[in-house]
Amino acid sequence: MRTMLKIVPLLALFGLPLAYADTVDDLLKGYQAQGASNFSAEKGQTMWTQKFNPPGSDRARSCALCHGENLKLTGKHAKTGKPIEPLAPSVNPKRLADAAEIEKWFKRNCTWTVGRECTPQEKGDFLSYLRKQ
């Protein structure tokens, strides 16, 4: 009984910080578990404008091609021209809030832009860059 009395308040204490755990932090931890380390916002930024020519591309592709270099501004879909809401969480709080959405777009957009899925290291670098915007 005495042990129980000690454990219960402790559980409550540990439970609270979890409630506010950041989506991005959780994803970064997941990438670390897959072998990635030392995430770098600088590397993420460099790769943001890096140009790729995957098979089937008629012009060089980059993240910035659709999302732009200033992430606080609205982007534009390279093919359809449809506006893309700003990626910067500072101006668009809906961004980086949903892990499933983040992974879905990594899969789609890395495949189109780079020609393969991004590695956990690359995704971690991107998120480290994006979250600062």
């Binding site: 219960v8 609270l16 359809t80 021209g81 449809k82 879905k104 899969k107 189109w112």
Partner: protein, 174 residues
Amino acid sequence: MKHLFVMATSLVALTSSALYAAEAVTPAKPAPTATERYTAECGTCHMAYPAGFLPARSWQKLMGNLANHFGDNAELSDASRSQITSYLLAGAGEKTQDRHAARFAASAPAGETPLRITELPYFKREHREIPQRYIREAQVGSLSNCAACHTKAAQGSFREREISIPGVGRWEDD
């Protein structure tokens, strides 16, 4: 007395952790309807085209190859894909209540499975008088950009009197 105090403290702690657990487990909003999901998943990159514009066999084929969606990767979670596929099949050209939309799908040649609405004979016929230079206009870009000229396309309405071509204005068939 001391026991009572400890019990009370634990009770408060238990309640708050239970509250927290309830908050964490319960989703913030209800699951999206099929229409909401279609608009959210497909309408991010292009207009969420009315389901009635393509025959069921076309939607089936298109939804079966989202990894190569006109050169783009548009893969969805299994749950989203199956919900959206059901929605599109239920409202496809053969089933839609919209008589105008039904003409698009009905014009698809038997034995063919067109994937682009813009390739359907009825679509081509309806747009044959539109000069290329109107389509090349920056705000239009492509015939697939319905809403550039059909001002109520997003609401599924394509009446002639609602047409306004960028840089040209109203359009009336001869």
